[in-house]
């Protein structure tokens, strides 16, 4: 029996597909806003090791053995059909949560890096991370009302982005605008597959 599209579709009906997309960017760039604008936000907590600085700040008298703290994560879902769901995970911005990134990135389709032109450098670590990992990503410049607008070419140069990385403007508050960013990411992932580029984090 030939393996046609219909077989793939039938197979998928038996096996639900979850697509994971990461939303990264500096503190205050608009990650939470974007997840909220475009998906059904779900409360999600994770517990993480207390860092040295916070163990000095937090009063731990009587709870000396407490070495973890609970943090809220940006998490949203977009249900496309019964067996196809897109999950959005905001990557924790603070340095002490960086160890979580590998886990979040594992098996992810790709990432949106949100940039704020007033603090462009804040998104450099995210760009570096996804470049190094060979993971598809797009950079979405969140157009804050009071931020100066720059030509895309200028921003591409400032971010040192390779020509194949999509750079788009967005308003993270707007559902349509945030949706377009996700569409750009999925199209970019498709284009990379079509051009034969291997995707390392699918493993």
């Amino acid at each position: 029996m030939p393996y046609g599209d219909s077989d793939i579709t039938a197979e998928r009906r038996r096996a639900p597909v979850a697509i994971k997309i990461l939303i990264a960017g500096g503190f205050g760039a608009g990650k939470t806003t974007m997840v909220g604008a475009v998906s059904e936000v779900r409360p999600l907590r994770t517990e993480e090791a207390l860092s040295e600085p916070s163990t000095r700040v937090d009063v731990l008298d009587g709870v000396e053995r407490k070495t973890t703290t609970t943090v809220a994560m940006d998490f949203g879902r977009i249900s496309i059909s019964d067996d196809l769901v897109v999950y959005l995970f905001g990557t924790p911005g603070q340095k002490r949560f960086w160890f979580m990134w590998d886990e979040l990135a594992f098996g992810a389709l790709g990432a949106v890096v949100i940039a704020d032109t007033r603090r462009l450098a804040d998104c450099f670590p995210s760009v570096d991370y996804f470049e190094r990992r060979g993971m598809p990503f797009v950079v979405a410049v969140n157009c804050f009302d009071d931020a100066r607008r720059y030509p895309l070419d200028t921003m591409r140069a400032a971010l040192n982005l390779t020509p194949d990385v999509p750079l788009v403007l967005c308003d993270a508050r707007q559902r349509g605008s945030s949706r377009d960013v996700l569409v750009a990411l999925v199209e970019h992932a498709v284009a990379r597959i079509n051009s034969g580029q291997q995707f390392t984090s699918a493993r």
């Binding site: 998928r12 096996a15 999600l44 999925v186």
Partner: protein, 94 residues
Amino acid sequence: MVALVSALRSTSVADIEPGLDPKLGPEHLRLLDGCRGPIAVADLASDLDLPLGVVRILIADLREHGLVNVRQPAPSGLSDIGILKEVADALRRL
């Protein structure tokens, strides 16, 4: 985080309660109840209002007891152009 957890067909809370393993607490039973159909780990944590790490440990316990099945959600989806186009089309309609 998006690995799919599902309770094995034959198990239900009622089935295991009589001979309950002392190591299985009420959270285990809640979790088992919450994964009747395949559900992503992150969704389960959200549904049960438990931190991700706690849910992972509970899942590991249940798996050890042969009560749940955990699998990656069709990772081939990431390189399946058909699925990605379906995702892009669905997003455009949002």
